[in-house]
Structures are given as structure tokens and as C-alpha cells.
């Protein structure tokens, strides 16, 4: 594969899917800056693995898997250590976050235990099957079912309270 072909195909993928992927990361970690870094880390890894991943047609699943798993690592050590390939221009100067109204539902999602939150995001927001969710999270299907059930029940409680209010 020629570099220019790889760059073009990769750029097209990023242009069309990056916003969605960043929302996935945000739903999992609850911080836009961290979500941006997570997605960039995942995309750099995708670029390196591009020929293999594109051949298999699983670009988005590849990035998503890195996002949901990287978050475990990122919470365990200094942030800057885990940013392969991101040593370009100074990215410390970030624009201020826009004022965004977080809903009670999103707050409840963030309050879920990590695995429940990830499971709900993949299973109930993105609509992945139990098998796909288990594969991306690296857990058993039974674990997906129990986490999805518990997480969803908590979110339904919040939604019910909002509707009654």
C-alpha cells in the first residue's frame, strides 16, 4: 500500500468517524480533553495497523476497543506517559470547554461503575450485540449481560424520576 493511499483512506475514515468516536470516549470517561487524547492515541495506533485492520473491515471496532481498554490504563498512571506518537506541536494550549448542559441521565451514566458504564455505552447506546460487546471489552458474555442489566436499571430509575418531576 502506498503511503499516499494509506494517508488518504485513513484521513477519510478520521474525517467521517472521529466525532462519533470522540463521543464514545467522552461517554466512557466523562471528560472532553481526556476523550480527545484517548481518540488520538487510538487513531495513531490505527494508523500503524491500518493495512491489516482495513483489510478486515474493522476500523471502527479496532479504535473502539482501544478506547474502552485504554481508559483502564490511563486511570492508573501519569497521563502523559500513555500517549504514543503524540509528540507533535504543543497541544497543551487547549481551547476552553464549551458550556454544555449535562443531563441527569449523562450524570447517572458517569456514576455507574466503570464496567457497567462501558457495557451500557456499547450495548445500549451503540447497539452492539452481547457477543460484540463481550469481545470489545474482553469479558465473558454473562458479564456483559449482568452489567448491562444493572446499569440499564439504574439509568431507567433516573429517567423515571425525571419524567415524574
Amino acid at each position: 500500500m502506498r503511503t499516499e493511499d494509506r494517508d488518504e483512506a485513513f484521513t477519510q475514515f478520521v474525517a467521517t468517524r472521529r466525532t462519533h468516536l470522540r463521543r464514545v470516549a467522552y461517554a466512557i470517561c466523562g471528560d472532553w480533553h481526556r476523550a480527545e487524547d484517548l481518540v488520538q492515541t487510538a487513531l495513531v495506533k490505527l494508523y500503524v495497523a491500518w493495512p491489516r485492520v482495513e483489510r478486515d473491515g474493522r476500523e471502527e471496532a479496532y479504535v473502539r476497543t482501544i478506547i474502552v481498554r485504554a481508559d483502564i490504563d490511563e486511570s492508573r498512571r501519569p497521563w502523559r506517559r500513555e500517549r504514543p506518537g503524540l509528540e507533535g506541536p504543543d497541544r497543551a494550549a487547549r481551547e476552553p470547554l464549551p458550556v454544555e448542559e449535562r443531563s441527569a441521565l449523562f450524570a447517572a451514566l458517569q456514576d455507574l461503575p466503570t464496567m457497567q458504564r462501558k457495557t451500557v455505552v456499547l450495548r445500549h447506546w451503540l447497539g452492539l450485540s452481547v457477543t460484540e460487546t463481550a469481545r470489545e471489552l474482553g469479558v465473558a458474555e454473562g458479564t456483559v449481560k449482568s452489567n448491562a442489566s444493572r446499569g440499564l436499571a439504574k439509568l431507567q430509575e433516573v429517567l423515571g424520576a425525571e419524567r415524574r418531576a
Binding site: M1, R2, T3, E4, F10, T11, V14, R18, T19, R22, R23, Y26, A27, W32, E36, Q40, L43, V44, K45, Y47, V48, A49, P51, R52, T65, R69, A70, I72, D73, R76, R77, R81, E82, P84, G85, L86, E87, G88, R91, P96, L97, P98, E100, R102, S103, L105, L109, P113, T114, M115, V120, V121, H124, W125, R135, E136, G138, V139, T143, L155
Partner: protein, 293 residues
């Protein structure tokens, strides 16, 4: 409104995204770093040539030094003689100024001039072969590399030198990474496979047991891959296993506080000939922040 729509509507799109080209540039750097980390500095032999036209090369052609005109090395630090427009670059790259001919010899467009050449920069073993050339065409420099693996798979790449933020030699080394024979798995900078059901922890300890049809050939507790992978407070293990199809994998396992255990499989061909070699690879990856996945 169902739960999917409710979640989708519960937050926005966040701040403005950075430029895509910066991510592509990061990708280039990651490849280069990976390349240098795994292969070391390649002993590239540069042959500076002059003159244009078609000349013989290919697997049996080692006739470096054929020309006599010495032209400066076309590195990123050397000003490119002319800066073509983006449209011109695209048109020139489509022209394929250099490639292997039907007889396996290098052919160069007679209007181009070879200013530097690297013989077999990918160090492929015959019948595999590779060749890189820097050409001057209409006042601008273009770089070409072409290769054929012993498996028969081959290809090439080209770029305008002004697009590369590196030297000709570094660009060629990057291309070697990109062109790794898929049969070897050498092109996978992060070779981990997350979804193979090969082993699992027994209870809450660090002993691994095989999944159905899998044989554990060797296993170790607490392999100390580094704190980025698991601290001494976490449980971790590594195993060499053979699955029901006879394929062999290394599996790194960890169980972190409050999370499900994670198992990352790496084919033995990608992980190294011994468990120690695999653990060295894993330590390097986690120390550099890359991980195995």
C-alpha cells in the same frame, strides 16, 4: 424515545477537533519509532548517481556508482530545488517515474534524473528484493521505493520530498515498516489480539487455567511487565499456550482493582522465540506507552 436515543441526546459533541493531518503526522512518527525500536539503525548503502534515462537494476543489479555526477543528498534539511503545486505533485506521482520493469529491472522515466539510490534497503533475502531511488524531475525531488517479498507480494511507494519531514533514508525505513509481508506479522506494531478465549485466572489467584481445547505449555506468575501493565498489588500472569488448531500464543493476563481480568494474546511469531523475549517486548511496549493491543 428509547434508551439509545435518550443517551444520544444527553450530551453534545464537545470542543472543536484538531486537524486530521496532525494525527497522520503522529502516525508517521509512531511508525518510524517502531521501526527504529525493532530493527535498529539500518546499514543503508547510498549510491549517488547522475544522469537520467532508463537503466538496469533489480535483484541482479548491484551496479551502483554507474554515474559520476554528484548531487547533494536529498534530505529534508536540503532545500528542494523547486516546490511544485499540489496538483503537480499528484500528477507526477501518478506518472510512476520509477518502477520495476517486466524483466525485474528498474526502469526510470527518461525525463527524470536519479540523484540517490539505495540498494535493497529492506534487506530482503533473495528472491525478495527492494530498491529506493531519489529522482529529480522538472526541478523537484521525488522519492520512490519498490519491493518484492519472497512470498511474491510486492509494491512500492512514492512521495514528493517536500511532503516528508525527514531524510530520504528515514522515509525509506518508514516504508519498510509499511510494506512488511503480512505473512510474517512484522507489520503489526501492536500485535495483541484481545478476543481469544485461551486462558483465565483460577479464582482470585495468579494461576491460569486453559480454556477448552487449549494446552498451557508454560506459565509464570507476576511477570513484572511494569507498573503500566500491572503493579505488585495487582494479579498478573503470562502463559505460552497452544490452541486446538495447533497455533501457539503468548497470553498476558492481568486483573486490576475493580475491573474484569484482561487477557491479551500475541502470536508466537509476533512475540518472539522465547517467553523471555516476549516479556522483553511487552516491557518495552508498556514502558513506551504503547501497550500490546
Amino acid at each position: 424515545m428509547d434508551i439509545r436515543d435518550e443517551i444520544d441526546a444527553s450530551f453534545g459533541t464537545g470542543p472543536t477537533e484538531g486537524p486530521v493531518h496532525a494525527i497522520v503526522a503522529d502516525g508517521h512518527r509512531a511508525l518510524r519509532r517502531r521501526r527504529l525500536a525493532t530493527s535498529g539503525a539500518a546499514a543503508l548503502v547510498a549510491v549517488v548517481l547522475g544522469g537520467g534515462a532508463v537503466f538496469a537494476a533489480g535483484g541482479d543489479d548491484t551496479a551502483g556508482g554507474r554515474g559520476t555526477d554528484v548531487v547533494g543528498s536529498p534530505t529534508a534539511g536540503t532545500p528542494t530545488p523547486a516546490e511544485p503545486t499540489r496538483k503537480q505533485v499528484r500528477r507526477v506521482l501518478r506518472m510512476q517515474l520509477a518502477d520495476y520493469g517486466v524483466d525485474g529491472r528498474l526502469e526510470v522515466d527518461p525525463r527524470a534524473r536519479v540523484v540517490q539510490r539505495l540498494d535493497n534497503p529492506f534487506r530482503l533475502t533473495a528472491p525478495g528484493r527492494s530498491l529506493a531511488v531519489a529522482l529529480e524531475f522538472r526541478g523537484a525531488r521525488y522519492w520512490y521505493v519498490m519491493y518484492r517479498h519472497a512470498s511474491g507480494e510486492g509494491g512500492g511507494s512514492s512521495t514528493w520530498s517536500g511532503d516528508a519531514d525527514q531524510s530520504f533514508e528515514d522515509w525509506v525505513q518508514n516504508e519498510e515498516m509499511l510494506s512488511a509481508d503480512p505473512g510474517t506479522g512484522a507489520g503489526d506494531a501492536w500485535p495483541g489480539i484481545p478476543d481469544l478465549d485461551l486462558v483465565r485466572f483460577v479464582g482470585t489467584g495468579e494461576v491460569l487455567e486453559p480454556s477448552e481445547g487449549v494446552t498451557i505449555l508454560e506459565q509464570r506468575r507476576s511477570p513484572r511487565v511494569g507498573d503500566a501493565f500491572a503493579t505488585t498489588a495487582d494479579r498478573s500472569a503470562v502463559a505460552l499456550v497452544r490452541d486446538a488448531d495447533g497455533r501457539e500464543f503468548y497470553v498476558l493476563a492481568r486483573g486490576l482493582d475493580g475491573t474484569e481480568a484482561e487477557y491479551i494474546a500475541v502470536r508466537v511469531a509476533d512475540g518472539g522465540p522465547t517467553m523471555d523475549a516476549f516479556l522483553d517486548l511487552a516491557r518495552e511496549r508498556y514502558a513506551s506507552g504503547g501497550g500490546l493491543l
